[in-house]
Amino acid sequence: MMARVRGRAVITGMGVVSSLGRNLDECWRGLIEGRSGIGPITRFDPDGLRNANAGQVRDFDFEPAVFGLRAAPDLATQFLLTAAREALHRAAIAPAAERQARFGASYATNFGGANSWESYVAGLLEGEVPVEAFEEFAFGRAAEHACEAFGIGGPCALLSVACASGSAAIGVASDMIRLGEADVVLAAGYEALAPTPLSGLSVLRTMTDEMIRPFSADRSGTLFGEGAGALVIEELEHARARNARPLAEVLGWAENNNAYHITAPDQGGAGMTRVVRDAIVDAGIDARTIDYVNAHGTGTQPHDPAEVQAVKNVLGERAREIPMSSIKAALGHMMGAAGVVEAIATVMAINEGVVSPTVNYREPDPECDLDHVPNEAREATVRRAISISAGIGGNNACVVLGAAN
């Protein structure tokens, strides 16, 4: 267990922007109704991609003035600000006019201001230098906007560890609380669909040319999504003192690297096995008390069996007794936002007693033979759960969440 713990990190607010809805309620309803937000990409011409569909956020309005901005920031930052505002509102924390030294932030993204980057390069190719687009692309700019908008003046992190970013950002935020460096931390992951990342994920053949089907024998790859997830993580006594209701506790986490290959999974899911084991050790709990696994579950042929094996390796017999579902077929793989949105689905499972399903599931796979909650949500008592993430570059992360008590 973590050395020198000074506080307990509880979640007191959550917010989402996703292809299934632009707030938590819409997104959760879509998840438990077994719907998918994946549809045609309309923001740019997807011609040339293996798949013209993604979890694109639709009918999204952004009012810069609400966030004290004169002009709209990069689209990904708009998602971040919107989800963060909902999370803070739900936590009943008003944005502060002055910077608050005990209010921290931990942000996560894969590609940052990817659409601003596209604009910048388009300008360069025309012989122009649209420097404003360059500044909006810069990863740190999103942190500047969000910290300014909400009065965050404490410790700040902006992590990019590919698709493990969101889970790692939750972990870093919980460390800030557990080590006593902040009272409240905004943990948020954000990502926007953009041509270059999707081209890369298409030519790597991570993207399916059919449909995303996690754990299904006929799976052929993933589809991507966009949006943001935000958590307000707070020290337990701080939450109690202001009568805020804890929704769940971040019990522990771990993040690591396979140190094996940039894109290929390592042998037998060894890195994921270690990250799940280390997160549970960090939480100081018995692996046999885990009730639910929110999987990374991308729907690629090599990933899903490796993740199933990792869960079996650590949870042993318990792995066969509990649900392990993936929400990626419902939202698309939200990349830097995925870990946070998946943690939110996990907290909802704890609070609502319902586990979101793995949609688009068709055929059992002997290598993915756990209870993957195919297509329909399931009632379940979830007191403790893990959410797993993994990404290009060999990064893995795992967050352990528990019911607030």
Partner: protein, 341 residues
């Protein structure tokens, strides 16, 4: 802070426009030399600083692997270090800061996509265009199976890398980490900085920040004070720096002689009134003497705090007071002291 786990700096690796190693930086600082535009291209042969052969590499990754190569040797680890008997590679990690990362590869990738179509992205270049690819390559090169993070917060990026490495180690998540930052003077970055300099020169003060036609094309005084614009007039540089950080117990167990102590590091929310003092207080010492490598190797963005920290670590043995590296925007800092056994 007496109850806190002590973190030893046992190796230093630096690469700058002044050359490979921290020594030329320290010599230039002692001599009080000005940064010279002729010195700012990191002119070296990257393949000489690799443990294993590579095919394609982004310059940003080249720089940081060179700094790792130097740091690992400085720490007496060598290539066999990570796989050393008695070492637990699962307890070893990397934490890297970069403001812009692999821009050259990103430009290459996006140029193909925009000019030829989405079908024509290069899978190889794409995998080298992630901002966390340099850190992932370090993990692979040195078999670092523990925590692996990339931090990007503008000029303070490597302060963040140092701060969260300290957090990870104090939380008991790693015993040894390669920590620092890297930046490459890629064409897209230089082009943007050139435009900023031109605008500042064309419009030194303009409180309204608006051109005659009402467009917000020129910086306001307020904007000039933000992190990026405050550096727009600086001589630009590139490079990387890596410190080998070890818990005291780990360093002593392998018989390593600590070069200095990383007594604290902090990363605060980017803020226009960050003067640096708050970050220094958060890092544990407001009275530390600030060392700024940018004064001799140019402004290196996300690598700047790491390069300054490398100089602090090299100078700490003969310094009576604590030394500090502070980001140009004042939001991040690291405090480094002489190692006291």
């Amino acid at each position: 802070m007496a109850d806190q786990l002590r973190i030893a700096i046992t190796g230093i690796g630096a690469l700058s426009g002044l050359g490979a190693g921290v020594e030329p930086l320290v010599e230039a600082l002692r001599a009080g030399r000005e940064p010279d535009a002729d010195l700012l291209d990191a002119d070296y042969a990257p393949e000489e600083f690799r443990e294993s052969p590579k095919t394609y590499m982004d310059p940003c990754a080249d720089h940081v692997l060179a700094a790792c190569w130097l740091a690992v040797r400085s720490a007496g680890l060598g290539w066999e270090g990570a796989a050393h008997p008695g070492f637990d590679s699962e307890r070893m990690g990397a934490s890297i800061g970069t403001a812009f990362g692999t821009l050259e590869s990103m430009l290459n990738m996006t140029g193909r996509v925009q000019q030829k179509g989405l079908r024509f992205g290069s899978p190889m270049i794409f995998t080298h265009a992630f901002i966390n690819t340099p850190a992932a390559l370090i993990a692979i090169e040195y078999e670092l199976q523990g925590p692996n993070m990339t931090h990007s917060l503008g000029d303070a990026s490597s302060a963040a890398a140092l701060a969260y490495a300290v957090t990870m180690m104090r939380a008991g998540r790693a015993d040894l980490m390669l920590v620092g930052g890297c930046e490459a003077l890629s064409d897209p970055l230089v082009a943007a900085m050139d435009v900023k300099v031109d605008r500042l020169e064309a419009c030194p003060t303009n409180d309204q920040g608006r051109t005659a036609d009402g467009l917000e094309a020129r910086p306001t005084n307020e904007e000039r004070q933000t992190a990026n614009d405050s550096t727009a007039n600086d001589v630009l540089g590139e490079g990387a720096a890596i410190l080998v950080l070890e818990t005291e117990a780990h360093a002593l167990a392998r018989g390593a002689q600590p070069l200095a102590e990383l007594s604290g590091a902090s990363m605060l929310a980017p803020c226009r009134d960050n003067a640096g003092e708050r970050a220094l207080i958060a890092a544990g010492s407001e009275r530390a003497q600030v060392i700024d490598a940018a004064s001799v190797c140019g402004h290196t963005f996300g690598a700047s705090v790491a390069l300054s920290a490398a100089c602090c670590a090299a100078l700490a043995a003969e310094a009576d007071e604590a030394l500090a590296a502070v980001s140009a925007d004042g939001s991040g800092a690291a405090v480094i002291e002489r190692w006291r056994a």
